[in-house]
């Protein structure tokens, strides 16, 4: 036996080393369900390499900052003028979007929807990668000590980047959406088709599990579904660049909204919140409830009694006002909601950025803030909102280091006469989407 080992010493060592590794691999695969398990060698390797990476990245940033902020200022004045002009245009656009957002919130209140909103984000810098072409992952300069945890979503202003896979004291590993082992629930915005986003062997981002008979086209936008509990709904994932048919499913290639190959700074969503529509908005949507209820076929007329009125109001307050049987007789009486009723007027911004007067229902006494004109604080906020969540209502603003995402405020409106807040169904893509 000893002679055999000596004669084939090299092969024996090779077999032993391979056996140990295969055995270790089997143990890891068997225990892969333990989320808290981190191998010591990982901690050592990451702790050894990432400080150097952080030092280089931060030095680079400092040099770049000195050069661009103090030395290389050519064209800055012209750029400043251009940006100011752009801000004016964006203010106009924001005023219009705020109208859409407030309408969407009323509809959500109407249907009792709860949406996940980004409550808190933390900026982080990309300092390293996995060093493997087969696994697409990154290392950030923030870790568990900064409050990062596993499965937190990582985004940029452009779109989704990935999720945190592992945290270490001063760094965190992010699995990108174009990794082959990744899986992100996504939806084609135009067709509302659900699929799974993951990477290809070449590092391309693919949308899978879309049936071959669907009419997906290049240029279609893909957004998150929000069903995975990691990413909020509606974040841009990318746009479709190529569609080819395979056996059962389409082979769809995406262009990621966030440039995954050139990431420098990202935002980690450290806190999500299920936001139910605010009660003040619900009061405003009571009218919308009645409108939709009246449009539903076969809705029986409720007797105009005091109990019914109270019942309807309380349900509206709870955000459960979608029941067509509950109808506010007072509102129905004052404004018969039929298909022939006049189209509602929405507030349009003027050229100076201020919205014009809009026809809106008279505010109810129990919810005086619902229609109360407010200053638009979003445009004055120094911190920008992120992506589509800029439309989502935010009610809390905790103090601390992480960046806060500010909500848009309701645009000032003035009540002129009772009129529906909602446009007719044909003009309501948001309503269609939710259904």
């Amino acid at each position: 036996m000893e002679n055999l080992f000596t004669r084939h010493r090299n092969l024996s060592v090779l077999a032993a080393v391979l056996f140990i590794q295969v055995f270790g691999l089997a143990v890891q695969v068997k225990r892969s369900n333990d989320p808290q398990q981190t191998r010591l060698i990982r901690v050592w390797a990451v702790a050894t390499i990432t400080p150097f990476e952080q030092a280089i990245v931060h030095t680079q940033g400092a040099v770049y900052g000195v050069w661009h902020n103090y030395l290389y200022l050519r064209g800055v004045r012209q750029e400043n003028r251009d940006l100011k002009a752009q801000i004016e245009l964006l203010r106009l656009e924001q005023a219009r979007l705020n109208q859409d957002a407030s309408q969407a919130r009323r509809l959500q209140a109407l249907l009792g929807f709860k949406e996940q909103s980004i409550l808190q984000t933390m900026p982080a810098q990309v300092v390293g990668s996995s060093g493997s072409e087969q696994s697409r992952s990154l290392f950030l300069d923030k870790g568990a000590d900064d409050g990062l945890k596993k499965n937190m979503a990582v985004i940029t202003a452009e779109g989704v980047v990935g999720k945190i896979l592992q945290t270490y004291p001063h760094t965190a590993q992010v699995l990108l959406i174009n990794d082959q082992t990744s899986g992100l629930g996504a939806i084609v915005e135009r067709l509302r088709l659900q699929g799974i986003v993951r990477g290809s062997p070449n590092g391309e981002t693919m949308l899978e599990k879309v049936m071959a008979d669907e009419e997906v086209q290049p240029g279609d936008k893909v957004i998150t579904t929000g069903g995975d509990g990691i990413f909020p709904k509606g974040l841009p994932v990318g746009s479709i660049v190529k569609v080819s048919s395979s056996d059962l499913f389409l082979k769809i290639r995406l262009h990621p909204a966030a440039d995954l190959s050139r990431l420098e700074e990202v935002l980690v969503i450290t806190k999500l919140q299920d936001v139910a529509p605010a009660s003040g908005e619900v009061a405003g949507s009571q009218r919308a409830v009645d409108i939709l209820a009246a449009r539903l076929p076969g809705v029986p007329e409720q007797p105009a009694s005091k109990d019914a009125e109270i019942n309807g109001a309380s349900k509206a307050e709870d955000g459960k006002v979608g029941d067509p049987k509950v109808e506010d007789p007072k509102v129905s009486k004052s404004r018969p909601a039929t298909s022939s009723e006049p189209k509602p007027t929405t507030a349009k911004p003027t050229t100076d950025g201020k919205p014009t007067k809009a026809t809106a229902p008279t505010p109810k006494p129990e919810a005086p803030n619902a229609e109360k004109p407010q200053l638009n604080e979003t445009s004055a906020s120094p911190r920008p909102a992120v992506g589509p969540q800029a439309k989502s209502p935010q009610v809390q603003q905790p103090r601390g280091q992480p960046m806060q995402v500010h909500p848009p405020q309701v645009q000032p409106t003035k009540s002129v006469k009772p009129a529906p807040l909602l446009k007719p169904a044909a003009d309501q893509p948001a309503n269609d989407r939710m259904q």
């Binding site: 080393v17 295969v22 695969v29 990668s129 072409e133």
Partner: protein
């Protein structure tokens, strides 16, 4: 420059100063983890693999070669999300094969280095995907075109890199 002719150096065994032997793999791993973040197109290179092959064919000791490959592979594994041992197994076999080949073949000229690296790159990728699919259970896709091209790029890079690393080796 001789490209394929057997040279008298083929039986020469080299060694490296301990500092170089430690720093070369460490720098390769650092390069692999850091540089692709700045220059994404460089992620196609597998510098730790090239260093494993170089140290294997230069030292010409199969046990040292496989242990070197094992350590480099495990450290590379620790920077990735997948279980430890995937790169470890692949690079152990490559380290063993490179050192065994170095004993029998001339690996001192550019052509043989190109071919050896190209072959070992494909072997490494095959082992990696086999372990990932067979042992870990990850359904990874194999892209022939990409792997062949990446092997070509790495083989070209190996010729240049090995010429630089030759400066650190010492006759045993």
């Amino acid at each position: 420059m001789r490209l394929s002719q057997t040279s008298p150096e083929q039986v020469e065994v080299y060694r490296f100063p301990w500092l170089a032997a430690a720093l070369i793999p460490a720098l390769a791993l650092f390069f692999q983890a850091f540089v692709p973040v700045q220059l994404p197109f460089l992620s196609i290179f597998d510098v730790p693999l090239l260093v494993t092959i170089f140290l294997g064919v230069t030292r010409r000791n199969p046990v040292t070669g496989l242990l070197t490959g094992c350590v480099i592979g495990l450290i590379q594994d620790s920077l990735t999300p997948h279980p430890l041992g995937v790169y470890g197994i692949a690079k152990t076999v490559v380290g063993f094969g490179a050192s065994s080949l170095g004993v029998k073949l001339d690996v001192e000229n550019a052509a043989s280095r190109f071919l050896v690296t190209y072959g070992f790159y494909l072997l490494h990728q095959f082992l990696y995907f086999s372990v990932q699919r067979g042992l870990v259970g990850q359904a990874l896709g194999w892209a022939w075109g990409h792997e062949l091209f990446a092997g070509l790029v790495n083989a070209v890079a190996a010729v240049a890199l090995f010429a630089v690393l030759d400066r650190f080796k010492q006759r045993n």
